[in-house]
């Protein structure tokens, strides 16, 4: 077994004059969940589809189990489970038929249990065109993992899913990882990436802007702690004053939100201020920086979140 299941080296994909992906490199180990994050147009789907063999790289190499997806796609079919961002099935095909159809091509027994598990039991005889977007996404996921592939590529798997289905999907992903499957997850959902991914790469304009574990990435940012305060008379809204270690403060939904370099300095100063103003604390929340905060720092460096006041 190779050290790395997925290897991407100097991968570049150009459309006309525009580089959708501009020389990215990363590796993914067996049993790892690797998150690809980035705003729209960052190159996530192009990277995923090139790994799936649906697009041809302009230069660089992509390998899964040392197999080139463009040159030897047939060798990859049984090793790869794919949920595409944009795909479809024939409108009159039922989930049951789809399961039998694709499992036949993968030479495995149909996994009707997966349809039940992903909440499609009652819809297994309904035509694809009558399924909701969420049901279609769940069916695509069931089909992607029905043949127990060692590598799974999921492109926005939770888009359009309700909360219950999202939790179920995360459980399925955790089970697949426990069984040794390698998962590449392209997502907009930062909470999902933070919860599920062992490592992430943040793509920006076709390049990798940052990579590492969610904890590493979060720690490598400016590390501003978010302190949200709601008081009884709203004295902070009228006259917030200047508090120690605060880089920026904003008002949102009656809350005053402080971005602080040191919550230990800022919070007591806020309490003192409220006492002087004869105001009473209703709610106070201290949140460490999330992956989303770090993501916004990288992708929107001029945004208000965490910017210096």
């Amino acid at each position: 077994m190779q050290d790395y299941v997925v290897q991407v080296k100097d991968f570049r994909k150009v459309y006309g004059d525009m580089a959708a992906v501009d020389g990215i490199s990363f590796e993914v180990q067996q049993g790892e969940i690797f998150g690809l994050l980035g705003p729209n147009g960052a190159g996530k789907t192009t990277t995923m589809e090139s790994l799936e063999g649906l697009r041809q790289p302009s230069s660089g190499t992509l390998k899964i189990f040392d197999i080139d997806p463009t040159r030897q796609p047939k060798r990859l079919h049984h090793l790869l489970g794919v949920q595409l961002q944009a795909s479809s099935l024939p409108g009159s095909m039922t989930p049951n038929e789809a399961m039998e159809f694709f499992c036949a091509y993968h030479q495995v027994n149909p996994r009707h249990d997966l349809l039940e598990r992903l909440g499609l039991g009652e819809k297994k005889l309904s035509q694809y065109s009558t399924l909701s977007t969420g049901q279609q996404r769940r069916l695509a996921l069931a089909l992607a993992i029905a043949h127990d592939p060692p590598v799974v590529l999921l492109d926005e798997p939770t888009a359009g899913l309700d909360v219950g289905s999202r939790v179920e999907l995360h459980e399925v992903m955790a089970e697949m990882r426990a069984k040794g499957a390698t998962i590449i997850l392209a997502t907009h959902d930062m909470a999902e990436a933070e919860k599920m991914a062992d490592r992430v790469a943040i793509l920006l304009k076709g390049k990798i802007a940052a990579t590492g574990s969610p904890t590493q990435l979060t720690a490598s940012g400016r590390g501003l702690v978010k302190i949200s305060v709601l008081s009884e008379t709203g004295s902070l809204l009228k006259n917030a004053g200047v508090f120690p270690a605060v880089s920026q403060q904003i008002i949102k939904d009656e809350y005053v939100i402080f971005y602080s370099r040191d919550a230990g300095e800022t919070a007591p100063a806020i309490f003192d201020f409220l006492k002087i103003q004869d105001d009473r604390l209703v709610d106070l929340r201290v949140e460490r920086p999330t992956l989303e905060d770090r993501f916004l720092e990288i992708t929107q460096p001029d945004s208000s979140n965490g910017g210096e006041s």
Partner: protein, 271 residues
């Protein structure tokens, strides 16, 4: 083999389940057959002897030229072929299975027409059943391959209508279905040799119905076979999985090669 069989059975069921395909595969050709049986046999005495092959040809054209290409274009545009590709469905299956399931639909329709046309409309019965079946299979293969090729090269549904009608409408008028093609004026007769229906009718007349063919029926068999094989090979060669991301980059104008046997036929058989 199991996957191929599953795919085939699914495709065959779709031909009955989808209303538009059911209409083109069965309802339209059988309705047209009954209508023509009631009207044309009285109006045109030359119609009844070749009613069976004529009505079979209408059915084959509706099923293949009008019914086959649209699902191909729709599947490509909707990303269905992308789903197929990542799950290992080969292009050969995508091309050949609809052709095969169309064979089954058309054989069923042909049986209905052949069995009922004699007793109900006094239609001519084939004198040589072997040739009748052979030309039927060849005709379905050629038209299904042409229909599949149209689906593969048509950039969108509007082009399907254009390409299909370029064959369908002239065939209905000049294709020897209602009147024998050798009754056409010489210039029109030469043009009609570009139409596959003329060759199917000529082969059936000469080889299966013991009627006077317009020209050598074996040339018609050869032209249909060569054109069908070219169309089938080109359908696989020009096939694209994805409307936005064409991996093959092959020129769709190559599809015109499938007309070459008909052009050669028109040059050498028209005189």
């Amino acid at each position: 083999m199991t996957a191929f069989f599953h795919h085939f059975m699914y495709d065959f069921r779709i031909g009955l389940r989808e209303k538009s395909l059911l209409m083109l595969n069965y309802l339209f050709p059988l309705g047209f057959y009954v209508l023509m049986g009631l009207l044309m046999t009285g109006l045109n005495p030359t119609f009844a002897p070749t009613m069976i092959p004529s009505m079979i040809l209408v059915a084959v054209m509706a099923c293949t030229l009008l019914g086959l290409p649209n699902p191909v274009v729709e599947s490509r545009e909707a990303g269905i072929f992308r789903s197929f590709k990542i799950n290992g469905v080969p292009a050969l299956s995508i091309i050949s299975i609809p052709v095969l399931s169309n064979f089954v639909h058309m054989i069923l329709v042909s049986i209905i027409i052949t069995v009922t046309a004699g007793p109900f409309f006094k239609a001519g019965i084939p004198a040589n059943w072997g040739y009748f079946v052979l030309i039927l299979l060849l005709t379905i293969f050629t038209f299904a391959s042409l229909g599949m090729l149209i689906g593969v090269v048509a950039p969108n549904s509007r082009y399907i209508v254009l390409f299909s009608q370029l064959i369908f409408l002239p065939s209905m008028i000049l294709g020897g279905l209602m009147i024998p093609s050798n009754m056409l004026p010489p210039a029109l007769f030469r043009i009609s040799l570009l139409l596959p229906t003329v060759h199917s009718m000529n082969a059936w007349r000469g080889l299966a119905f013991n009627m006077e063919p317009a020209f050598n029926p074996y040339s018609s068999v050869l032209i249909l076979l060569v054109s069908g094989v070219i169309a089938f090979i080109l359908a696989i060669y020009l096939f694209n999985w994805d409307s936005k991301n064409k991996l093959s980059g092959r020129n769709p104008l190559l599809a015109l090669l499938t007309l070459l046997p008909f052009v050669i036929g028109a040059i050498f058989l028209g005189g």
